[in-house]
Symmetry: D2
Subunit: 472 residues, 4 copies
């Protein structure tokens, strides 16, 4: 949990040629993208150049109701769901950002993180700008408004802006007459095109297409600008330079298993991770279990590869949400057990292989290992379906600061000891790169390797500071 | 969904000798029992003979907050979460029921269904009684108040009342000075005793004990009355007659996998069901998948027995709740996909074995089979981890009326055809009885066999009517 | 503020023969009766023997909305708004009380206070009854249910019950087929019949008739039972014995100025009170002001009689309600000024006559006098439009306990000194009785005189205790 | 009701040197200013350069609660309550507006209307600006941010901005270290300085000072900039040119009677208006009544001057608010009677003089006259305490468009006939100017005379269009 400039979000857009009810379709799509951000959400619709929007803090079902949806009429719509640190869960930062500029109304939603946003803010402020949010979206809107002044169209302004904006950004925006989607030239974050009947839709993940009955058309290319309007769909590819460098952690953790990113199934990728783990770090045991929900598929893969039976090690309580109440230290311990209970019958008297997607500080892993032992596990072998986190992410993944990352402070043996595990094995970076079977792209794995596809000397001091300093 | 007299609920009680905060402990326990009833919930506390309570329509996190919990101070507490048909989801029917009677205040929560409640209501009304709810709890409270007049203690009144109340009931109640738990002489519904430090707790399922860090002590016997007070814990066993006849559907569907009922693990029972299914109805296939959440463990068991790989066939959206909005017919189809999405990568081009816990009307199963085929499954073999529903349940399980039950209208072959499945196999009743490995009890399986442990000629006409007639 | 058994409430009923929308008409009427109770409210409708109801804590606009009103369909409706002490503002005590009894569903709302309710509760409990509220309504419903067993009709049961129920009660109730209104044989509380088109309505005050466009028909007689059904309207008068003994404080404080009670205008009665005050307690001054809202009309009467100009001495903030926040002692002082601000321009440099309806503890009056002096009033002469409170009310008016009533502890001169007033004059009891000009009734003025129209030896010990003991 | 650019609002600011709790003091002050705007409200606090704020749609008690107030800690605070047309009651337009600019955070609240805001927006947009609200506040913030670039302090930027901003504006703003208040050089809208202990406060009306126990210091001069900081209070007067041209309608309608504007009591001004009306338009009658609330004081003045008794002609229901439900045409008629009921006893059989503050379309007046006749008034003579509305207001008063104003379409005789009144008299403009007795200022009465203190050729086309065209 770093700062609010670091977000994982879900975005969606629709240009409706079939009377599908653009807002309601967006509402359904946001349900399917909710796992990418549970902090706030919003929908903006464009009805013949009039933009109406509704945003709120909370989950999609908390923010929208029948009355509100009925109020959101229009042919185009964009939607957003947002993850953020608690302190900044204000309504002001919810997206889409709707603003008036020289050419009318602009509605914008984005996923990713600019590495030069503080520098851009400063430059804009020196020119008299005022900022009402702490979102990168507001910076993007300003740059677009500025570039629009010397462009003959909004898409030209987007094209010019892409020369100014540095970092990771997948964007959907509505101008008075067009729906535009764009992906940064490095392709850090996913963005795809789908189609229902004669209407085009844009989404962060393909699971949103399934949810609304759309078919997948293709991924948007890095640097590509997709323009959807009366004349249909077209692309501007002047900023396109090469293959995507997709964040590989999307496969490990962010994306939903039923999504397909750059041609690779997330579900199969996770099973592959488990298979490679079994090859890299075999151990004799009686049962393989995963930490819900993101560790389950890798555990299944480990089981299949190793032949050790798969089991359900934990029951996750589906009713524990934001409003769960806890107070004293004693009750905090209880709270954890309410969220996640060990399924004793599955592990008692057994040698257990425990698969999780990552370890950050190690606190949660330590408690889980201890719970398994309390439930009667005779051995606990921990397997992690990604390499150790050793470096900051500048492109939107909210990893902890270096001095909090357990892997920056201890050797693997020391970590195993600290967690109370009988053994510990991480997936190697080489095998990690192989898990998205059939993926037609390169990857950003800078958080593991320290090598980033983009020159990170662009990262402005403020962002660097936020990402690298300690915080609680 | 029959009528409101048919409920599956969760109950909890605590007599706190350790300053644990009785209300908050109950709050945590209700989270763990929430799967037994999501319609309304409530907590009543007894602080030195003063009873304060709070009830509401909705989930535990919707009904309670910090302010309310802080207001609920007391040494004893009981809690309840309730399932009900939509039409009767009124605050009036929420439990616990708190009433004043000749000896002070009585708070009561129950799980189960009386078969003579209409007859008892009639008799009470003929004596001048008025009823403010449609709950069996109010009938029970009246009978207790009446029997209390000729009893020397509340526990004696409970004992006498058990001669009058016919049907299934697991009860927790607070008199001014005692916490009392009782289970009907047939033991239809589960009820267990746990202990934290020096404090006794009572719960419908053992998963509630895990949630609050309590250890399991033992199941309450059928007909047993457990009295907890200043003098500690004691039992009245005059109504105890034999082994429990626990509802076997608790193992198939109701209970949480991490609960242990009458000594048998629910998780292992479901895996056993899958194993027996694989033996009874083998078929060649490429993958075994389960319908979330209750079909998953049986699917795993089928996979293990058959050697056919286990897969994750569906992603269930965890954010779709009560307030999900749908409207037109088109959107209703979409809604289904948002709740449950087929994981195409897991089934495409494969022969699929689909495991579910039961089929009621068949509508949902038909859609799931069709979705699997649309995702590329080449064959779909359906396996059900219980026998066909053929008879009404008079003891609290809300099965549909006979004319809506698909198994009452068609042969198994006809059902398979109707669902579009390549084959269909139900678990046999003989094997069903074997799945709760190590269970120290008999079972009620009347909904499958038509044979009930209790004389159902006691079922009053009103209840019979409600259970057997058609409704939409 | 005594206990919850002491309530001033508003009740309403309609038997709709014109398709007026019974619930909505009741909703409008409750707005007009809201001044009689702001604590909770409710509406029950009877649609062809099916009773649906909605109740809640709060004002009419807080408890009802469009969706709820649309759900309340039926030909008959009754409504209630309730005043109560804070501690008991629970939803459980909201009215109407809807209960099932031997003959179907009974919905009941009442205004007043029984003096033998504790004794009746005890008797019922000895017969096995349970009580879920602390309302007299539940006692009345029980008595009705009991008497119904030996009566041939609900109206006969009402008639018999009136022999058992002692105290003040104005009631509206719905049986499956009839709307019934009844007033206790002493006629303590008002109750009137009105008519819209061909539909009869019943209300506590005539201002409710104005609100819904109904014409006033007549007041219900003490002891009268009015039965409205398919056959039209009829009366049972066997319990009628004489003239009403209407609570005279209705004219001084409770009723709305635009209501007419027993033929007398409340507005004119208050002006009369002011006129008599001017005659009894003349004083030289520059302006006459009233304490909003109930002192204003009397101040105007005083001004007219004395010839001293009327002025607006205070601005009452209309936005300060239930949710107003205050904290520290300093802020509590501020809070008072926010609610009521002295209009300096009206009193500065002037000799002021300040008219209020009553003094209870004297705390508020003291502060108001002090505020006037701070605003520059050179003299403050206080005039009270009723005699000193010296006795408890057993019939529904929530006066303070004797040891808190300033008039029980001090002489009038001492009170004036305590309040900081230059002089103080109360209206005499003789003149008070003359203020309801044209009223066709006697009055209960027991709180002033200690003489009650009913034998108060019937008051049960519990009630006496509640009314006479001290509380904070 | 014209467009959202036309607002009457209340503003408040505090620089707390006494540990008064700045947010809570602002909260109390907003209660006292609530009559100036009931649509939305907000408070921003500045705690050692960190600005925290909370805004919402609704009344002060709806938007704030204890938890929120406790969260708003700081030494400085500003608050705002806002009136607006329904369509624009969005949270986005709520004030204060908090934005980041080159020098840190700026929080701003204003009352009034710029006449060149559309032109300024256009110029800013041509420079790349984006706008997220439709408020003038955002324009002001931009101009301030721009001017700040070439100013050595925020107060210098305010001073420079006043050369650019045309129209009516009373402003409070917080820079990181200072509280600043400013009033436009014409002084259209009121703004005053008060003091509690050693802390200065700023408010739209003096009634806010009474509410929080502050003493009135003085009115801010037109063009004056008041700067409050660590060094105490100081003024910049370079833009001061002459006497205020206070909106005279503040005395007739907007301000609270207990406020004193430019040395004149609003209460006395309204009585004066009534006195002049009695002289200009005498008539024989039995009673003088006013339309609540703003017509009451003028009615009292008319009564005193004429010697005709004052009466209370209407009871206004204090519980009817925003959530009042109405539906059919029939029910709409009922709704009106619920809001305002004629007090029959006051007017029956009488010749009535009815005083109101103004007539816009005439619809409401017509209904009131008709209600009075229905209640038995034998004659109804209408008197209006201001001249006829004939012209648009460009400075913040939301008058209807010309084609809707009844006085633009009919002669006074025709209006009287249309309303059903026996006679009609408006206050003359000459006497209107005399009613604020002792006021040390000139007035803007352009809505009556068409003569404005400021050159209205500055009004930009968009605003002109909004103000002059018809709308429903």
């Amino acid at each position: 949990m770093i700062g609010e400039i670091h977000e994982e979000c879900g975005i969606f857009g629709i240009y409706d040629n079939d009377g599908l009810d653009a807002a309601r379709t967006t509402y359904y799509a946001l349900y399917a993208l909710q796992h990418r951000g549970q902090e706030s959400c919003g929908i903006a619709v464009n009805d013949n150049r009039t933009v109406v929007f509704h945003k709120g803090v909370g989950l999609v079902p908390d923010v929208f109701n029948e009355v509100i949806l009925n109020h959101l009429k229009g042919q185009m719509a964009i939607g957003h769901c947002r993850y953020s640190t608690t302190g900044n869960s204000t309504i002001e930062n919810a997206q889409p950002l709707v603003s008036k500029y020289i050419k009318g109304t602009l509605a914008l939603a984005h996923n990713g993180n600019l590495i030069n946003s503080q520098q851009l803010r400063r430059e804009l402020e020196l020119n008299g700008a005022i900022f009402q949010t702490t979102n990168d979206s507001e910076v993007i809107a300003y740059i677009l408004a500025k570039e629009r002044l010397r462009s003959s169209s909004i898409e030209e302004a987007v094209q010019r802006s892409m020369g100014v904006l540095k970092g990771a950004y997948s964007i959907v925006l509505m101008s008075p007459e067009k729906l535009i989607a764009a992906r940064d030239p490095y392709g850090f974050r996913p963005l795809s095109i789908g189609k229902i009947k004669n209407s085009y839709v844009i989404a962060s993940e393909t699971c949103a297409f399934d949810a609304i009955g759309a078919e997948f058309v293709r991924d948007i290319d890095p640097g590509e600008i997709v323009v959807i309007g009366k004349q249909g769909i077209s692309s501007i590819r002047t900023n396109c330079t090469g293959r995507p460098n997709l964040c590989i952690f999307e496969f490990v953790y962010f994306a939903r298993p039923d999504s397909v990113l750059e041609g690779a199934s997330v579900y199969l990728a996770r099973q592959e991770a488990g298979r490679y783990l079994a090859k890299e770090h075999p151990v004799e045991a009686d049962v393989v279990i995963g930490v819900p929900d993101s560790g389950l598929d890798a555990a299944l893969g480990y089981s299949k590869e190793s032949g050790i039976p798969y089991g359900v090690g934990f029951i996750k309580n589906r009713y524990v949400g934001r409003t769960f109440i806890q107070s004293t230290q004693d009750q905090r311990d209880i709270a954890v057990k309410i969220k996640l209970n060990v399924l004793k019958a599955a592990v008692e008297g057994k040698r257990v292989i425990l698969v999780d997607d990552s370890i950050v500080r190690g606190t949660t892993s330590k408690r889980i290992v201890s719970d398994l032992r309390a439930a009667g596990a005779t051995e606990v072998h921990m397997r992690i379906s990604s390499p150790p986190f050793l470096n900051p992410c500048y492109f939107g993944t909210d990893i902890d600061s270096k001095d909090k990352l357990i892997a920056c402070k201890m050797s693997i043996e020391e970590i195993a000891k600290e967690l109370g595990a009988d053994s510990l094995g991480y997936l190697s970076i080489d095998n990690l790169r192989k898990i998205p079977v059939g993926a037609n792209c390169d990857f950003c794995d800078g958080c593991f390797t320290g090598k980033y596809p983009m020159d990170v000397s662009w990262v402005d001091d403020y962002s660097k500071d936020m990402l690298e300093k300690s915080k609680e």
